[in-house]
């Protein structure tokens, strides 16, 4: 029972990360109907931006201020990179068949992975300790680490912020409008291109934040680090019903918890198999996912 609780808590911590990244996939799919396969590389760039930021700033000792600054910087830079990727890679293809954008997305992903290996080096770098992890307290024999609490807290804040933007602001309403009737939104005075850019920026900021949180917990970063988590987050988005925000969050949490049960109960070899199995089962038996509304053409 103690073990079970510990695995669940660890799983929720990783699941929150999946949820943050999955939101980026699902938001872009919701508004453009395309899978942004470069999203995992924006996550990777978030970690590297934070790494270099800490280096330039000469962060020596761990402190909450360093942690906050690193998180904000990574979020901002990831947002900027997401904006640029959309502007230069996808926007010119807006009117082309979706397959073109998909192939471009894979191309951008490869460009970042291998460009990253050239610029940052292929060897893993050890991520600076922005904040010292410690055992805070115990609940029923399960240890609660500071970093896990931070992951829960920051993810929850980010999700609340996102919820506020989507449901309480004109920009959020416009995002939902463009997602449902892009032909009608200009009649409201909405500039669809701006709203699409905004969607990429928000999704990328979430990915950048997720990357820093993960890198503090597992302080090894390399240019290929996005592919594994990107795959899992993508599966989480499909599992929850791609295009659905709540689906992405619940899908992410469930996948994270599921993976930790596998690890915890001695089947860690199959950890990566879980996401693929889920993906295959979902596509076979419930292609709309848990919360997906209608079946659009999926690519």
């Amino acid at each position: 029972m103690e073990e079970f609780l510990q695995h669940s808590l660890n799983g929720l911590s990783f699941g929150s990360i999946y949820a943050l990244v999955a939101l980026g996939y699902t938001m872009v799919y919701g508004i453009l109907g395309m899978i942004n396969f470069a999203h995992s590389e924006i996550y990777m760039m978030g970690a590297f931006m934070c790494y270099y930021f800490a280096l330039w700033m000469g962060f020596q000792t761990p402190s909450p201020i360093n942690f906050t600054l690193g998180l904000l910087f990574a979020g901002l830079m990831a947002g900027a990179i997401g904006f640029l990727v959309e502007k230069f890679a996808y926007k010119p293809l807006r009117k082309s068949p979706k397959m073109n954008s998909l192939i471009t997305a894979i191309g951008v992903s490869i460009l970042f992975q291998y460009g990253g290996q050239i610029i940052f080096g292929a060897n893993p770098k050890s991520f600076p300790t922005l904040i010292e992890d410690q055992n805070l307290f115990e609940i029923a024999g399960s240890q609660i680490h500071l970093i896990d609490l931070l992951i829960y807290g920051v993810s929850a804040l980010a999700l609340l912020g996102l919820h506020f933007i989507i449901y309480k602001t004109q920009t959020g309403r416009a995002m939902r409008a463009v997602s449902s009737r892009p032909d009608m939104s200009p009649l409201m005075g909405i500039d669809n291109n701006k709203i699409i850019s905004m969607t990429f920026i928000i999704g990328s900021v979430l990915a950048g934040i997720a990357a820093v949180l993960v890198s503090i917990k597992y302080p090894k970063i390399d240019p290929m680090m996005g592919s594994k988590i990107g795959m899992s987050a993508f599966v989480a988005a499909v599992f929850g019903g791609i295009g659905s925000l709540h689906g992405a969050i619940i899908g992410g949490l469930m996948l994270g918890v599921g993976e930790y049960y596998l690890i915890g109960y001695g089947a860690s070899t199959y950890r990566d198999a879980l996401s693929f199995t889920v993906l295959i089962l979902i596509l076979l038996y419930k292609p709309t996912g848990l919360f997906g509304s209608q079946l659009k053409e999926k690519i």
């Binding site: 449902s180 200009p186 409201m188 005075g189």
Partner: protein
């Protein structure tokens, strides 16, 4: 001050097919102007071009300003709103959210604008938290009109507002148009229901295969034998 939109030699093509062949007409604030014609005459195409949704050539002059180079959102800011064919409401947004989006380009307080529309359309006030897609056809049409009014336009273009509605609802909606006209709004109305449209229009044009074949006051066209034969029988 009276505003007017003057359209000169408007051409619209869909690829190789010409839908509107060089039409010229005008409409003004405080007046209802209608375009009548059969299916495929180019009525909706004309409105979409005026709203900037379709590429077009020719001049669209709004109070001596040329609209042709402006995008749809920019034209809306100038005060030209389109209430589109098929209503085009956002089905998964609530009534209130649909209305709030109508004022997307507005910096002023939304609550005053909202209250004004809810006063004008009490049915919408009752259903403000309901999703747009769950409304009846008549309510959706009211929502579409109210949403277009949220941008406080000077000119409102209405594309087939009576389509698919019960006669009693049509009467209510047309009464609203008359009320709006009295407040100084300019209305350009497209209708297949020609008799109804001509009755409330001070100026009317008949469109056939992309060209204007007749122009006159609403009363004149109601009596015109060609109009009676083709559109009123």
């Amino acid at each position: 001050m009276k505003s007017s939109i003057i359209v000169k030699d408007l051409h619209v093509n869909y690829g190789l097919i010409t839908a509107v062949r060089g039409i010229s007409f005008s409409f003004s604030s405080g007046e209802i102007t209608c375009l009548i014609g059969c299916n495929g005459a180019g009525k909706s195409t004309t409105l979409k071009a005026l709203a900037g949704l379709l590429p077009h050539s020719g001049q669209i002059i709004f109070d001596s300003k040329n609209m042709q180079v402006l995008s749809t959102p920019e034209r809306l800011k100038q005060g030209i709103a389109l209430c589109p064919e098929g209503r085009g409401i956002f089905p998964n947004l609530t009534v209130t959210e649909n209305l709030q989006l109508g004022a997307y380009s507005k910096k002023t307080k939304l609550s005053d604008l909202l209250d004004r529309q809810f006063d004008m359309f009490p049915r919408l006030a009752e259903r403000r938290q309901q999703q747009g897609g769950t409304l009846s056809g008549g309510e959706q049409q009211m929502l579409a009109i109210a949403r277009a009014l949220m941008s406080e336009p000077k000119m409102l273009m209405l594309d087939e507002p009576s389509l698919g509605l019960a006669p009693i609802i049509i009467e209510q909606i047309f009464q609203k148009f008359e009320d709006l006209r009295k407040t100084g709004l300019g209305i350009l109305l497209i209708e297949q229901n020609a008799s109804l449209a001509l009755e409330i229009s001070s100026s009317a044009y008949v469109l056939e295969t992309g060209e204007i074949i007749l122009h006159g006051t609403g009363a004149e066209l109601l009596k015109d034998s060609r109009v009676q034969q083709s559109y009123l029988s």
